[in-house]
Assembly symmetry: C2
Homo-oligomer: 157 residues x 2
Amino acid sequence: MDEIDRTIVNLLRADGRTSYAELARRVGLTAPSVQDRVAKLEKNGVITGYQAVVDPEAIGLGITALIGIIPDSSADHLAICDKLGAIEQIESCYFLAGVECYQIKVRVPKMADLEQLIHRVAGIGGVAQTRTTITLSTKWEDRPQPIPTGEVEHGVD
Amino acid sequence: MDEIDRTIVNLLRADGRTSYAELARRVGLTAPSVQDRVAKLEKNGVITGYQAVVDPEAIGLGITALIGIIPDSSADHLAICDKLGAIEQIESCYFLAGVECYQIKVRVPKMADLEQLIHRVAGIGGVAQTRTTITLSTKWEDRPQPIPTGEVEHGVD
DNA sequence: GATGGTCCGGTCGATCTCGTCCACTCGTCG
DNA sequence: CGACGAGTGGACGAGATCGACCGGACCATC
């Protein structure tokens, strides 16, 4: 994970379809060696995939909500997580330090779908309460921040 | 936005580097027509970009936190948003319906960076209070959900 | 302390696939 | 009938990919 790798990752985060030839030009290597580096970054779990970024509204997912999940005292966190994972409308799921043990981000087409979804989440065993916040607008999302320079080691190369 | 477009978008959300030739094979068209469709999807704002998905821990961003922002009564929401936009550690920013007018997701290398970041956010004019929750783990993030079939129109084609 | 083997990362060149442009076809609609 | 949108097929240049080769770092041996 040297400076060149960081540059490659930054370029691929900004545009995931950048060709190896283009990456090579940017970092001053040849295409095969860039390809080799990218393959290693993928193998080492630094790059875990590539996604097209899609406007949720354009595909009929106009409503976004954040839902905090408060477990009851005897809840099995992992069981809750499994159940949450089966709900495909949940795009993200964070395990939190706090009263709300999870926060999930969901997208649905209509308010009725959100209502149904909240009932489904609230019905999961071990869930005592949910707290839903509607997002009025998404200012930005998944904005890649520059990779911090490795002045301090953090265990991955 | 027909069934073929939905398939293309689903494929590109699952793997943003899928070649046009491969997409063409999957949807039963030729590469040029797929390319044409993708270009239109990009032009119409359905596909807004492509990103490599990177493991934050692997690039030294081991700490993720969610911060709720509570404005004071006279706050200018847009001004706050501009200031937030200038902070590169903020990966996502949602405008909410609720006491907390924004929720932001931040990533930093160390706790000290988080502390500094919270102070910076709290110091923005119009911000009365912040509420920070540390994420202990990210169960999943940006999981693409299937595009709902357009049984109901939603204004974008 | 010099020598030789090995490994790692890179380059180079050949080949095959892919991207891209253009001309043509076909069905639809005015 | 003509125009248009969407797709096809072919051609050509660019990119991806593979194998062979090269040079430096490292290490053990002599």
